[in-house]
Subunit: 455 residues, 2 copies
């Protein structure tokens, strides 16, 4: 028979079992961390009606969309989890309780140009809090705590959450009489890290944007405000009283900073960064980015912010919210590339490999059943192979314990258990064996999926 | 602004938060149950190249496929998890360790005619064991144990696993000289439950199939073999020695039955049912179906079997396997329709709603942080609403505990905790409050998502 060459599409991540376990462990920790903050899990379809999904989209997004027809239906694959959330909240408004806090971890699709580290199918892991009409500022203060605790649970240590407030930026540009140019200015300022202040000043004063040298100087001075959170806030107080929006933003930022220690975020994991703007026509208050300190080139690994209107394309209801998103597939790829995946994390499909040594398999089956009833993952190995091959199977899969049931063991109602890490083997009763394995596994629990390499 | 009416496509399940939690709990129990048997989690892309995905498909499947082009690529959405597994194993053959045991819970797509209870996007929850060249019969005996323990963990009691062996059927039809008609015969016999033996005999002897009355009688007698497992096996022994395939199948079935009690499957949850055939051109040995005893009209909720060749369209390697699949979305729909979802299962997004009663929120935030650090899911409620509305929020979301921090509590370093089920409220220290909540939650743990309604 002619064979079809098997292949996986480029831009689609497909992991080998060991890596998949590491990925699953990360996703599980995200779910657990999000749940601790009262976010409820949500799942929406991957396919939506195109006119619904693309009500707002345009430009670059629309070009990347996977869009097709099936029968008479014009369908599209979701390209993020925010638009489906907006649809969900508008559609089920009357059946939801607000503030509505949801997390969603799911695949999204973007037909980007294929290149290393860019994915066309990738997981996003989002949380959002949606208010009905209003939403208290404390929700904005809580988000950095979620980010901090989530990355800490994953095992990451050297990261920093960077916060700004769009009202401060908008208010500041209004003070300079530059509101109409604020979009262009922010896009230029965003390049500061890459091209430096001189080049930014040059771009700001060139023909296209057309600022005066004085205005450019004011802007560079403003975004150059650095220091501890207290110092930055103090510097910003110097601008107070000249613009209402600015003052409102400064109040919000001050509140966010004030509550951070009660939320348990250490000061060194958090900074006010006036260069951060994020999605220019969407966010309206606090905005967040998260940087890996040893890999600034990767960009933000968790971003988001406050918005005034989640679902304006679907409903007249005012639905303000705040949310963040982790690009989990991209993050996993980067962590693997940079050697951040913890090889101490158990990736074995089972905790015990049970090898029967007699023709009658019943005692081995009973032992495997007893392990499972005790919550221990057990695999029976009954293939007709040489003993060495059976041990090599456990070895390759990194299964930590191997149990043998031969005639001697069966006669004594016992089992021989080999600890694959130490090589020690003991013949003990079934109950003792289960206890031994459970104690060993308890010692391996709590190992984080990320371990930072020594620099 | 003109609004786009939000809607979700018909045939796509989108659950409200409470139901979603019930669904997630079921999926989590499936993952846990599958993992206990040494299956490793896998995730493959939802989109595959059409020529890869459809290498084997044809007929009804091909018509239902979501197929489209993006750029120059001819793409399709997966319609099951078996073909992607075959591709995965063929593609990564050299990097896998066999027997390869994987589970996968993921969405698949079939553009079926829309009707109540039929889904176009639905979850399948599959396990498969793939051997390299050979695969021991014990794997076939273990599958009913996985089914039994999985459904039991979900809370289902009144179900029965039905097992047959395709070799027994093929051998039996060979004895009658009817091998070439066996497909037609099995398709007819499959209707026995619905149309009864007389009508089956009529169909078997009509022009299209054309059996003699005697042959039809033999077949009805054979598939009419009923009784305990021992009785059925004894009756089948009466046919031994007339066909090699039959004898091999009977040996396999006998082995499967023999090991079931060691695997912990109670005899009343398991039966040999000679009418079961399943996918006619795929399964080659043991086949499984699972019936809900009080809802036979639903059909099998978990099916599968043994196959000799997983990936023959992609590779010359002989890859025999055995697997089962649960149609999770359909199962969930049926359970909900039939009143099987356990309303005792907690669906709250948080365990404690923390309500600050002072202008300074720091003490409430610190308490919420302490709860989370202790693994308790806590939500701060800081919206400006009347007290009654705050309590109603907890009530609607079924949050079991509400904690208040007013001036009195803060002065005493205490917190008032209300148990929403009993209405009791106590003012205690932070540590006592955490202990109280954790004890209460421990009492609610282990509640299964399914509770059978009293008949």
């Amino acid at each position: 028979m002619a064979k079809q060459k098997p292949r996986t599409l480029s831009g689609f991540m497909e992991l080998l079992p060991e890596k998949q376990v590491q990925f699953e462990k990360m996703a599980e920790l995200l779910r657990r961390s999000y749940a601790l903050y009262g976010f409820t899990p949500l799942d929406t379809p991957i396919i939506e009606a195109s006119e619904v999904l693309l009500a707002k989209a345009g430009g670059e997004t629309e070009k990347q969309i996977y869009r097709f027809t099936k029968g008479d239906s014009d369908l599209s694959l979701r390209f993020d989890l925010t638009v489906p959330l907006a649809k969900y909240v508008a559609l089920h408004y009357g059946e939801l309780t607000f503030p509505f806090r949801r997390f969603q971890i799911g695949k999204v699709y973007r037909g980007e140009r294929a290149q290393r580290g860019r994915f066309r199918e990738f997981y996003q892991a989002d949380i959002d809090v949606i208010g009905d009409g209003k939403l208290d500022i404390v929700n904005e203060a809580e988000i950095p705590a979620v980010i901090y605790n989530t990355f800490t649970a994953l095992g990451l240590k050297r990261f920093q959450i960077r916060v700004n407030n769009r009202k401060i930026l908008n208010g500041f540009y209004a003070m300079l009489g530059l509101s109409e140019k604020s979009g262009d200015i922010m896009r230029t300022v965003d390049k500061l890290d890459k091209i430096g202040p001189d080049k930014v000043a040059e771009l700001l004063t060139d023909e296209e944007i057309g600022l005066t040298a004085e205005q450019a100087g004011e802007i560079l001075k403003f975004i150059g405000i650095k220091g501890s959170q207290g110092e930055v806030l103090a510097s910003l107080e110097g601008y107070r009283g000249r613009n209402e929006t600015f003052d409102a933003g400064l109040d919000e930022l001050t509140t966010v900073v004030k509550y951070l220690s009660a939320f348990g975020v250490p000061e060194d994991h958090f900074t006010v960064d006036l260069t951060i703007a994020r999605g220019l026509d969407y966010y309206t208050g606090t905005v967040y980015e998260t940087a890996m300190l040893d890999h600034p080139e990767i960009g933000s690994v968790c971003s988001g912010g406050r918005y005034d209107s989640l679902a304006e394309y679907y409903t007249d209801k005012q639905l303000p919210g705040v949310g963040i998103s982790i690009g989990l597939t991209r993050l996993f790829y980067v962590l693997e590339e940079q050697g951040y995946l913890n090889d101490q994390l158990s990736t074995a499909p089972a905790d015990v490999l049970v090898i029967p040594m007699t023709a009658d398999l019943a005692p081995a089956i009973s032992f495997a059943t007893a392990l499972r009833n005790a919550g221990v993952r057990a695999q029976l190995y009954t293939e007709q192979r040489k003993f060495k091959q059976k041990m090599s199977y456990a070895d390759k899969l990194k299964i930590p314990y191997v149990a043998f049931l031969g005639e001697d063991e069966i006669a004594q109602s016992a089992v021989s258990v080999k600890d694959m890490a130490t090589g020690q083997q003991r013949t003990v009763s079934v109950d003792e064996a289960i206890g031994m394995v459970k104690a060993g596994l308890a010692g391996m629990a709590g190992i984080a999926p990320i371990k930072e390499p020594k620099v």
